[in-house]
């Protein structure tokens, strides 16, 4: 196995680097593991990759998802009814990495990660080639408990920043960022939106002033026109609720078509 020869951060920068070399935006797809059910998830993840996704975020379901809108809330409830655990998410990630050499991140709330154990989390990520972890309820101030084990393991813990984050805070925190910078496009929870927030352009420009890492925009992104509008501003987009909506409406095929249309919009 060559899994250990490439670190999480290297995997992420390779994924963004490939998209950039092809003159297009990177597409990250979020899917809740266990939606619509446990058995379907692996095929959906492959469909997202077949459609051209550059990164996969495996949504770890949590009983109290305070940063999520109804789409991801409902997907998480279905997953929990099906008994999905963090172990299942890691297993799905491991097979995507070994079969497709994919760039996979775990995205979930802190409590299940703490319960699993930070050291065990780091070890499992390394073992299965999972590149990073995104924790929406873990601001920089509280990240020590995970960072002390993830940093030495070269598993990237991706920071999120928001339009409300002041410049002074960006300047202080961004030098420690790893992998890529996750910009929350709006003040609000996840969920597909019709238009792009006015906040996003000036916000991403502020972030760029403090980092050379790739910058991806998420929350509320789901249409080709959103991706087109972000060309030249961001290096990638993260699409969650719209991907789950596509799955709910048309399964693998609808998901693959959505990803393809987003990828084309980012290359135009």
């Amino acid at each position: 196995m060559t899994l250990t020869t490439i670190t999480g951060s290297e995997r992420i920068s390779r994924a963004f680097g490939r998209a950039r070399a092809e003159g297009r935006m990177a597409i990250a797809i979020y899917l809740t593991v266990g939606f619509p059910d446990r058995a379907t998830t692996p095929a959906l993840l492959r469909a997202a990759l077949d459609g051209g996704a550059d990164l996969i975020e495996l949504g770890v379901p949590f009983s109290d998802p305070m940063a999520d809108g109804t789409t991801i809330q409902r997907a998480g409830e279905a997953a929990l009814r099906g008994g999905v655990r963090l172990e299942d998410c890691v297993a799905d990630g491991a097979s995507l990495v070994s079969e497709r050499d994919a760039t996979v991140l775990l995205m979930g709330y802190l409590n299940p990660f703490l319960r699993f154990g930070p050291e065990r989390l780091a070890a499992e990520c390394v073992r299965s080639g999972i590149a990073g972890v995104i924790v929406p309820d873990l601001p920089a101030e509280e990240s020590g408990e995970l960072d002390t084990v993830l940093v030495p393991a070269d598993v990237a813990r991706i920071d999120l920043y928001a339009p409300t984050t002041p410049d002074e805070r960006l300047a202080r925190l961004l030098p420690a960022a790893r992998g890529f910078v996750y910009c929350v496009s709006l003040t609000g929870v996840t969920g597909a939106r019709a238009g792009l927030s006015d906040d996003v352009r000036p916000f991403v420009q502020r972030v760029r002033g403090h980092t050379t890492l790739p910058v991806a925009v998420g929350f509320g992104i789901g249409r080709p026109e959103h991706v087109r509008a972000l060309r030249g501003i961001a290096d990638g987009v993260i699409v969650g609720s719209a991907a789950i909506d596509a799955v709910a409406q048309g399964g693998e095929r609808a998901l693959r078509d959505l990803v393809r249309s987003l990828r084309e919009a980012g290359a135009a």
Binding site: R115, P139, E141, T187, G188
Partner: protein
């Protein structure tokens, strides 16, 4: 460390809220050290809330439970009928001072929602209250009260449809409208600085009770008890006694159908350490870290977490935490009605129900102060149905 109680507490919130909680901490510190703000709050507590509340010498109750004296701190006699108004009014004044035009809150029993709607009506601020649909059913009069007071009540039909889910929805609203909205949290839970703000605003209970007890007894009481949901009336009561090492402190959680059944809301006596609603504390969770559904006959105690300061006071041993069941609480409810002519809320009925156990552990020759956190009008339906 700021915002920590030992290993507990903290600010586990989405980045979008970080600037808001930092701003809130600074605004509260500044207001709390401003004599004009404190004077205005004191004036309202006196002339509007009806403070100081009395300390009632409950002789027939004491005889019935086998204690020398039971002194009831009468938060049930405040305007709106529960201790929640102490914090709601203080925070609404703070919201106004911060220039926020909109206040949001969560509520379980509806007492915090009513208190918040009341404070917002008094100060002329827009008010939205989130409430689980199960709680809306069992505390219907309070839903009507909030609407009368001009608040918008938004039903939350997710998860267990109780307080926990109302908090989730309030946080989502705050994340969305953070720039102009003040989140008026109702208990000593959640992310820093709320556990500290709520303790400071509720500590008027303990300050008054301590002075009144010393007046009445000529010395400090032996035991001080309060019910613990999120823990605001308890921390407000305990705060004044923490340094009185001779005073035993006792928090009473909701034992629901019994700890052994798993159907309860006793986060300290029946839970483990985790992170919920922005704070590290004792929570009720399964082995995968999912927050469990809770059960209590009293909506105000039906929450799977507890304020982080209580978690630390439990670990240090300064406060003893116990749980009393639904059935015991209903007995305590009836006992106080019959012996003292006071109809308590079901939440503090847990503390009344615990008094015979206090006698068993501390002996009969002890004087006990109990925080009677609210009155029982809101619970008559529930009690009638369980009779």
């Amino acid at each position: 460390m700021k915002g920590r109680f030992g290993v507990f507490g903290g600010q586990y919130v989405p980045e979008t809220l970080m600037p808001a909680v930092i701003e809130l901490e600074a605004a509260f510190d500044e207001a709390w050290s401003d004599a004009a703000f404190r004077d205005e709050l004191d004036r309202l507590l006196r002339t509007y809330v009806g403070r100081p509340t009395p300390l009632t010498d409950a002789r027939r109750l004491a005889a019935a439970v086998g204690l020398r004296r039971v002194l009831l701190k009468r938060e049930d006699l405040t305007h709106t009928g529960a201790h929640k108004i102490n914090s709601a009014l203080g925070q609404a004044l703070l919201a106004k001072r911060m220039g926020k035009r909109r206040v949001i809150a969560e509520t379980g029993a509806g007492q915090h929602g009513v208190a918040t709607a009341t404070a917002c009506a008094l100060l002329g601020i827009e008010c939205v209250v989130y409430m689980g649909t199960l709680d809306m059913e069992r505390q219907r009069p309070n839903v009507f009260r909030m609407r009368l007071l001009g608040a918008e009540v938004r039903a939350v039909d997710a998860g267990s449809r109780t307080l926990k889910d109302a908090v989730n929805e309030a946080i989502r609203d705050w994340v969305t409208n953070v720039r102009g909205t003040y989140y008026l949290l109702g208990s000593a839970i959640g992310m820093h600085p709320y556990p500290t703000i709520v303790r400071e605003l509720q500590s008027v209970i303990g300050r008054e009770a301590r002075a009144q007890a010393v007046d009445l007894l000529g010395r400090l009481p032996d035991v001080v008890t309060a019910c613990v949901g999120g823990g605001s009336n308890a921390i407000g009561t305990f705060a004044a006694f923490l340094d009185d090492r001779g005073v035993a402190l006792r928090g009473v959680e909701a034992g629901g159908a019994g700890l052994e059944t798993g159907r309860h809301a006793a986060s300290i006596t029946g839970g483990t350490v985790g992170v919920l609603h922005g704070t590290k504390t004792y929570v009720l969770q399964d082995d995968a870290g999912q927050i469990r559904e809770t059960h209590s006959v009293s909506a105000g105690l039906d929450y799977p977490g507890v304020g982080p300061e209580h978690a630390a006071l439990h670990d240090s041993g300064r406060v003893t935490y116990v749980a009393r069941t639904d059935a015991e609480a209903l007995e305590g409810f009836g006992l106080l009605c019959r012996t003292e002519g006071i109809i308590p809320a079901l939440e503090p009925a847990h503390a009344i129900a615990d008094l015979p156990f206090v006698a068993r552990e501390h002996g009969h020759d002890v004087d006990v102060v109990v925080c009677l956190s609210g009155r029982g009008d809101k619970d008559l339906d529930t009690v009638m149905r369980s009779a």
